[in-house]
């Protein structure tokens, strides 16, 4: 038998091992420990999300006070496949509840899924990688208890999130049944996404690997539902993934309560599968077999910068593949949208009026789509730059800095892969978007270059955010992670919900993404590109200068 065949056989053998007695002993204590560790994080998310939901709910009466204005809104939504794909069908365009659930549903569920998944990984696989699980499992703690406690902690977070949202929406004057259906529908669908993370922790051996797999599964689930929604009148794909189950619960519009049971059942199946493995596998093992690596370093790995690229390589490739998939999806969506609108002169006129006049409708859709790329790329850039913090905290930075290499070289290790890598992602997303759309139109190359250009215009804003992270790593390292992530969340909020929340224009302009030129939908303006790039460069320079003056490790 081939080595690969033997490896696969040994993986299967793990599943057939005898079930240990009392695999769940200690779950309660570990759950309390996890809640103690997350006693700030969980309430912050729940309160923040609850505030956001009532802020959106209260905006509709101000923005669209009359039935007429809401009907017009509904028409413009119905003909925009991008919006329908991402946010799902709008079941009740006239009611405030229906509009609120539609507007915040999929975005909030995406956030819930990611937050819950990272939580599950942090309390299970991460503890194992760091060696804490060995200490626990060496005591009277069942082998599946850490994962069971992690999943239970995620369930506490999600149910609190859903229930607080429901209570606040009810308090804002919305229908009780609809509020509960919305809150619980989101929470139950979130449980399925947390279940993905539970399975991911049993497949991968590292926290990054588990987080990556969970993120991938959530992204795919989102794309499946979005593809189902994109077809006019919907398609069966709408019913295949948790995002669809949450949307189809139809909060505030003849609720389908039974879909909550579908979500819960799916979550239980995923949890049971993950716990089955957890109770039977070796400590630190994962179902994905470990391949032997190379015996020596490649010749190009010669210093801190090359080392960082070697470390970040796998992650960057996975992210680039993700951007390519997202780009292809958006490219196909763009073709559908353009076909739909250009076949209907009345619609075209309405949309162009809403968009502010002379704009080409294809370009208007295009800049919306590439705007999404830059926010996600900033997420990659920040997380990669923050690896510098992990290097410092875990003591690996000392090893590098004790060699005859400068601190600046060290900073530009993960720093350069964060800066250049995020630009690369923008290219990957823009190019595939343009190529897929252009292939349908018969001018792949021209559309590819055009979309790549539009996507790259987001780069200065992305680099500015990464620059903030690098500057903080120099100036105030302990603030780097929290400030960077809060800033990104702020940018996402102003970008997607700024208008709905009724934020004043000056406040929305605090986001660097608010200054990105909307070419080709709007005439090109180079000033913001130059200014944003200059600020980004200045921030990196601040990081370099401060790093040379501070203690290491801080």
């Amino acid at each position: 038998m081939s080595p690969a065949g033997r490896a696969a056989q040994s993986r299967v053998a793990v599943l057939a091992r005898p079930a240990p007695a009392s695999a769940f002993v200690g779950t309660g204590t570990l759950l309390r420990l996890a809640l103690r560790r997350d006693r700030v994080r969980i309430p912050v998310w729940v309160v923040f999300a609850g505030y956001l939901s009532i802020a959106v709910a209260q905006s509709w009466d101000r923005l669209y006070p009359t039935v007429g204005s809401r009907r017009e809104l509904a028409t413009s939504i119905a003909v925009d496949p991008t919006l329908s794909a991402i946010l799902g069908p709008l079941f009740d365009p006239l009611g405030t509840g229906g509009l609120t659930a539609w507007r915040i549903g999929s975005g909030t569920l995406l956030a819930m899924g990611l937050v819950a998944s990272f939580l599950v990984v942090r309390h299970s696989r991460a503890d194992e990688v760091e060696g804490r699980a060995e200490l626990l499992l060496g005591g009277p703690v069942g082998r599946a208890a850490p994962l069971a406690a992690a999943l239970a902690t995620a369930a506490v977070l999600l149910l609190a999130w859903g229930l607080v949202t429901a209570v606040l929406l009810r308090a804002a004057g919305l229908d009780t049944g609809g509020s509960v259906a919305f809150g619980l529908g989101q929470a139950c669908a979130g449980l399925v996404l947390a279940g993905f993370a539970g399975v991911a922790t049993q497949l991968a051996r590292t926290s990054r690997g588990a987080n990556g797999l969970a993120g991938l599964a959530i992204g795919l689930a989102f794309l499946v539902t979005a593809t189902g929604n994109a077809r006019e009148g919907g398609s069966p794909l709408q019913w295949l993934a948790p995002f669809g189950w949450a949307q189809q619960t139809r909060a505030y519009a003849e609720e389908r309560w039974w879909l909550l049971a579908v979500s819960v059942a799916a979550a239980l199946v995923l949890a049971a599968a993950a716990l089955h493995v957890a109770a039977r596998r070796d400590l630190a093992d994962g179902l994905i077999a470990q391949r032997p690596g190379r015996g020596g370093a490649a010749t190009w790995v010669t210093g801190p910068v090359a080392l960082a690229w070697r470390l970040d390589r796998a992650g960057l490739l996975v992210w680039a593949a993700g951007f390519a998939v997202l780009g292809a999806f958006e490219g196909a969506l763009l073709t559908t949208s353009v076909d739909l609108v250009t076949g209907n002169a009345a619609l075209l006129e309405l949309l162009e009026r809403l968009a502010g006049g002379t704009t080409d409708i294809r370009d208007a859709f295009l800049v919306d789509m590439t705007g999404l790329f830059s926010l996600v790329a900033a997420g990659f850039g920040i997380s990669t730059a923050l690896r510098l913090r992990a290097e410092e905290e875990d003591g690996r930075a000392e090893t590098v800095l004790a060699s005859p290499r400068s601190r600046v070289a060290w900073l530009f290790g993960h720093g350069s892969s964060a800066l250049l890598g995020s630009v690369l992602l923008l290219v990957a997303g823009g190019l595939t978007l343009g190529l897929v759309h252009g292939a349908a139109e018969g001018d792949a190359l021209a559309q590819g270059l055009r979309a790549t250009g539009a996507s790259l215009l987001g780069a200065p804003a992305v680099l500015l955010l990464v620059g903030v992270t690098l500057a903080l790593i120099g100036v105030r390292p302990s603030w780097a992670a929290p400030v960077s992530w809060v800033l990104l969340v702020w940018c996402v909020l102003t970008g997607f919900l700024g208008a709905v929340l009724g934020l004043p224009e000056w406040l929305r302009q605090t986001s660097p993404f608010g200054h990105v030129p909307l070419w080709p939908a709007v005439a090109m303006s180079w000033t913001p590109v130059v200014v944003l790039t200059a600020v980004a460069v200045a921030l990196v320079a601040v990081g370099v200068l401060a790093l040379r003056r501070r203690d290491m490790p801080s």
Binding site: P3, V14, P18, P20, L33, E134, L135, L137, G138, G139
Partner: protein, 299 residues
């Protein structure tokens, strides 16, 4: 469990990770009461063996019994009767040392508060400091305090003094001595020979996943060559014909050699015939035994 049954009984244990064979027919028998040393160089399989005994790893073959039970299927029930300190102690950075000791204790259903405070004092550990601010040695102390504050039948300690300073190693030895006096069993893996010499009654020595020697330190020494340094008035003739001599150097009336225990008598009659001026007979140090087992004799 009857009194005669060993606390730990491992026979022909095998475990592989991919193509790497970590344990290759390892035997380990630990009797009730006393301190058992588990010796081997880095990568010999000490930690893997302990992890199989803790039910953290599933064996590929062979037998492993712990406190009369199966380490894999009965893990939780067995863990109530033992404590384990891993070689690499990792803790939650945001908890304090005191919180950590309590959490670990509560997982076993609580710990003796007096004993906890005594141990914190003995190890000079400030329980209000967050784990993130502790050095490696202090993290080790947190785990040791949590373990030693528990009253159980078996203490499994993987390289427990790695990272402790000599003063704290002494505190640790005292604590282990008290466990022995109370009739508890301690399995202590180590590559620090002085520590094993100081606290262990019996040792098992392993290499490349196999057991190469096991028994009491005293008995093992008796089986080992003695080192002889002698000065004689007259030239030694025919000394090279004496059986059982090794590492021989002889010049200007000074003799250095090692001798197999069975041939000491013949060597002594040869020496006295040449009129002994001074004589030093030294039992083997653990280091010498160790090096001989690992085929690096004379190093």
């Amino acid at each position: 469990m009857s009194d005669s049954a060993p606390v730990i009984d491992v026979r022909g244990l095998r475990k592989s990770f991919g193509t790497t064979r970590a344990l290759d027919g390892l035997d380990l028998s630990v009797e009730l009461g006393g301190v058992h040393g588990f010796l081997g160089p880095n990568g010999a399989g000490k930690t893997t063996t302990l992890r199989v005994l803790l039910g953290l790893l599933h064996k590929d073959g062979g037998e492993a019994r712990l406190l009369g039970g199966d380490p894999w299927t009965d893990a939780v029930a067995l863990h109530r009767r033992l404590v384990y300190v891993p070689g690499d102690v990792a803790l939650w950075p945001s908890l304090t040392g005191g919180e950590t000791v309590d959490v670990l204790g509560r997982l076993r259903g609580g710990l003796d508060a007096t004993r906890r405070d005594e141990l914190l004092e003995a190890f000079a550990l400030d329980p209000t400091v967050k784990v993130a601010a502790y050095s490696k040695g202090n993290r080790q102390k947190v785990a040791l305090v949590a373990a030693l504050a528990a009253d159980v039948e078996l203490y499994v300690l993987d390289e427990p003094t790695d990272g402790l300073d000599p003063l704290m190693s002494e505190v640790f030895r005292d604590a282990v001595g008290r466990l022995r006096d109370r009739g508890r069993t301690v399995l202590l893996s180590s590559h620090v020979l002085a520590e094993v010499d100081a606290v262990c009654d019996r040792v098992t020595i392993i290499r490349s996943g196999r057991t190469i020697e096991t028994g009491s330190l005293r008995a093992m020494r008796h089986l080992q060559r003695l080192t002889i340094v002698a000065e004689t008035r007259h030239e030694l003739h025919g000394i090279r014909d004496v059986p059982g001599l090794h590492d021989l150097t002889s010049e200007a009336g000074m003799l250095r050699c090692t001798v197999d225990p069975g041939h000491l008598d013949e060597l002594l009659s040869h020496l006295s015939a040449a009129a002994v001026l001074s004589l030093e007979v030294r039992p083997p140090t653990l280091e010498e035994m160790f090096l001989r087992y690992y085929g690096q004799a004379g190093a």
